[in-house]
């Protein structure tokens, strides 16, 4: 075969050899190598869209530790592989540059955020929970035993997993925190 160098790949030469200058002769090496990037994924997770409650199936493609694509799961009897604009933007939801990945702390009366170590933050929060609970403990109310704290409240979104809600309710209830609410009220 004459030449495999640039000259042989030069479309004008391919054209002279009879290839279509508007078709095959014009193809670049990159074009010849094109494949859907999902084929290069290391893993595919079967997930569910996090926006509304229809519960559309999603396939999450991961390559080299990064999400490379999220699209509908055609197997789902609910969504049949389809997604709305929000569901279609799910990859951006998990990869967009505005996502916060570090703990931030604002001191009382502070004017700026300060960085904080995650473990330290957890210890500090646990301290505050225990302290506030003790300080605001209510053993009785209107003559009745209530065993609770009105000093700690919680509000959760409705994109929390059932397992998460369960642990939340379990812990809060044991702590005696009752002002525990959810988007479901709103």
């Amino acid at each position: 075969m004459p030449g495999s160098g640039w000259l042989a790949r030069w479309p004008v030469i391919r054209q002279l050899k009879g290839e279509d200058p508007r078709g095959s002769a014009a193809r670049s090496a990159r074009t010849d190598a094109l494949r859907p990037r999902t084929e290069r994924a290391d893993t595919v997770a079967r997930s569910v869209c996090p926006y509304c409650a229809v519960g559309c199936g999603q396939l999450v493609y991961v390559q080299d530790g990064r999400v490379t694509q999220i699209e509908g799961d055609p197997d789902s009897p609910i969504s049949r592989g389809r997604l709305c604009p929000k569901g279609s933007a799910s990859k951006q939801l998990v990869t967009h540059p505005g996502r916060q990945t570090r703990v931030l702390h604002r001191r009382p009366y502070g004017t700026e955020w300060e960085p904080l170590d995650l473990d330290t933050a957890m210890e500090m929060i646990a301290d505050r929970v225990v302290r506030t609970r003790r300080e605001t403990w209510e053993q009785t109310c209107e003559g009745k035993v209530v065993r609770r704290t009105m000093g700690i409240a919680g509000l959760g979104g409705a994109t929390l997993d059932n397992e998460e809600n369960y642990l939340m309710k379990k812990l809060y209830t044991a702590l005696g925190a009752i002002q525990i609410e959810n988007q479901a009220r709103i």
Binding site: W10, P11, V12, Q15, P21, R22, A25, A26
Partner: protein, 315 residues
Amino acid sequence: MRTEGAAVPEAEAGFRSYYGKPVIKPPVWHEPHMPTYLYLGGMSGVSSSMAVMARLTGNHRLARTARLAAAAGAAVGAALLAAELGRPERFLNMLRVFKPTSPMSVGSWILAAQSGLSAAAASADLTGGLLPAAGGAPLLAAAGDAALLATGLTGPLTATYTAVLVADTAVPAWHEAYRELPFLFAGSAMAAAGAVAMLATPRAQAAPARAVAALGAAVETAAGTVMERRLGMVGRPYREGRAGRLMGTARMLTAGGGLLAAVAGRSRVLTALSGLALTAGSLCTRFGVLEAGRASAADPAYTIVPQRERLSAAS
């Protein structure tokens, strides 16, 4: 272009559109690169023809001017074209394929030939002039002459292919003008090349240049008039707005410059006036045509109304 009220303004100007938005995209080519290139390409092409004729008729002074003008026009024009690209470093991709369906592909090959040949012709002439006693001079001169003669073919193509380039688009004011545009461009190119030669050649040797300029002005004016008359509504962008002003100015400068060229004779002042007017006129024409295309693309009326008329005529 936004219209008040939420519904599509119906039958507002005898046609319907999507919020008055254009149907087609306006040309992305920038000023001054593209119109200047059109001017330079035309000037270069006609200069080549003049150089050939001057060489054949023995008008060496004029031939030299024209050779240089042809080479300079092609080189600078090519540089402007490259600068106009979104990815100038990929300029050479223009020669990746040869596509007869693409006036720009054809034009690129033409321009490649024209710039190469005119550069060869010019440099042979220049070297010959600088080194009259050098040994290889006759050989060089012969090669230069051969290149020059070849530009006799590429020159006219360079001067006129650009009309096909702009006409082969969906821009109504360009596409519909595909008959007249080549003549308009040819005339404009003659006027431009004639003007350059007039200005840069001793007046004694410049008579053919003045004739070329005058003829060019006449051709351009005639073609322009015919074009606008024939295009009717689609030709409106050539008469209105910025494009209209440019085209009007071009018309005056070209006609005036052409008349002056015809009568300038050996008058220094008149020659200068004529040459400058024609140069400016030719540039105005190129800027005007580009601007008219842009205006024509931006207003959906020029796209929709003729197509609607075509459909009703067919049904």
